[in-house]
Subunit: 220 residues, 2 copies
DNA sequence: AGTAGATTAATGGTCGTTCATTCATAGTAT
DNA sequence: ATACTATGAATGAACGACCATTAATCTACT
């Protein structure tokens, strides 16, 4: 009884692990019950001894991951007296680690669709994306060389800015809240100053001075 | 000849428009040729008069959007003498507008998968996501009330930070480049100071005060 | 004997795609 | 203007493959 329950839970977990990997690799719709069965090592019909249908598998995968994000930070909803700075740092770190621990060859819509393209066409699209990356990195590097920003990882900085923009697709609704222009202003400010705001930023300080460039030197 | 060519291009564009909307609404795999045909107003077979197969439709949709992102900023690859700050602002604004103009009920992997859930299960997942949003917003608000950050839109700030984290799924590769911990540090710094870096941020200033640590000379 | 787990086979459905055919229009020769 | 021809566009039907799911049956262990 107990043994069989343990065994059941174990097999269910292993099925979930196979499904989770496939969902992130190929997407939910593109993953068939056959795929999961092959990956786990059984016949498709056997999966129905543990899950009522495909949807329940997806539900378990999503719930499991969300809980891994929520649980470590749940206690921060009520202030425990520690520094908010450290709390925020902890949230970022915790969320990031869960996000990355589940990641395999994870992709999102645009990126999942890329896999459905033939190699040559996929290359065309990826080249365009590389164009964009190269441009925004050059601009950031230029700003550093001109002394607007301190030295930092240009690739990462570019990723941050692009991420904030790309993700607006998820949560932005034009009806309620900010407008597109207001949002663009906010993202610009946030990219330059982050949560610090604009009062102490080097952009404003450099603007108020007469421009004298600090020789940054090394370009890459 | 000329008339028929114009007509052809027009119908092809209208088919693309229908396909693009469906792809963003339901995802590529979940969109059938029958769906596109119904949305456009023809039989499935007729689509093959304009596109060789389904993949070519996806390719055109993706290429069209990428080009709308690249073209307006292409000229910035070679410096035109204007301020890098303004250039970066322009890139952000341009990218954002294209991103949002193509958006309808756009979603990404996690969000597309949500649509495949039954309403009650979807609510469970969304409630968890709302938990996360509420928590990070409370922490940011707490930091503002404590004087760490100036007043700003808490919702947006939360979205920015979550976006930078979530998007790491796309581009992060553990083998080459930064480690997970280094990346977490970078995101934290970027969230607090943005491109300005940490030298002039209110975090360090307040930290040296509040926690009574030695006021280190890391200001330049 | 009873039960959970695994298998084989089959269900009805939808998928992308192809096919032969027809319709509508435009160009050309008479 | 009339008739023939070429071509793009649209059609209904069908193909084979794969889908999620189920039913009946078998196996192995308690």
């Amino acid at each position: 009884m107990i043994q069989s329950e343990i065994k059941t839970g174990f097999q269910k977990a292993k099925m979930l692990e196979a499904a989770r990997r496939l969902f992130w690799e190929k997407g939910y719709n593109a993953t068939s019950m056959r795929d999961i069965a092959v990956s786990y090592g059984c016949r498709p019909a056997n999966i129905y001894n543990f899950f009522s249908d495909k949807e329940e598998i997806l539900f378990e995968v999503l719930r499991e991951e969300m809980e891994q994000i929520i649980i470590p930070i749940k206690h921060l909803e009520e202030d425990d007296g520690s520094s908010p700075i450290e709390q925020l740092k902890f949230i970022i770190q915790s969320h990031l680690k869960v996000t990355l621990s589940y990641r395999r060859s994870a992709k999102l819509l645009f990126d999942v669709a890329l896999d459905s393209l033939s190699p040559d066409k996929r290359k065309t699209i990826i080249d365009l994306r590389d164009d964009y990356d190269r441009i925004i990195r050059k601009v950031i590097r230029r700003g550093m060389d001109a002394g607007y920003f301190p030295e930092m990882d240009v690739k990462l900085a570019g990723f941050m800015i692009a991420s904030m923009i790309t993700r607006t697709r998820i949560w932005f609704h034009p009806k309620k809240g900010v407008s597109v222009n207001e949002l663009a202003d906010f993202i610009s400010k946030f990219a330059f100053h982050g949560l610090d705001g604009s009062s102490t930023g080097s952009y404003e300080k450099l603007l108020s001075r007469t421009l004298h460039t600090r020789s940054g030197g090394n370009k890459r």
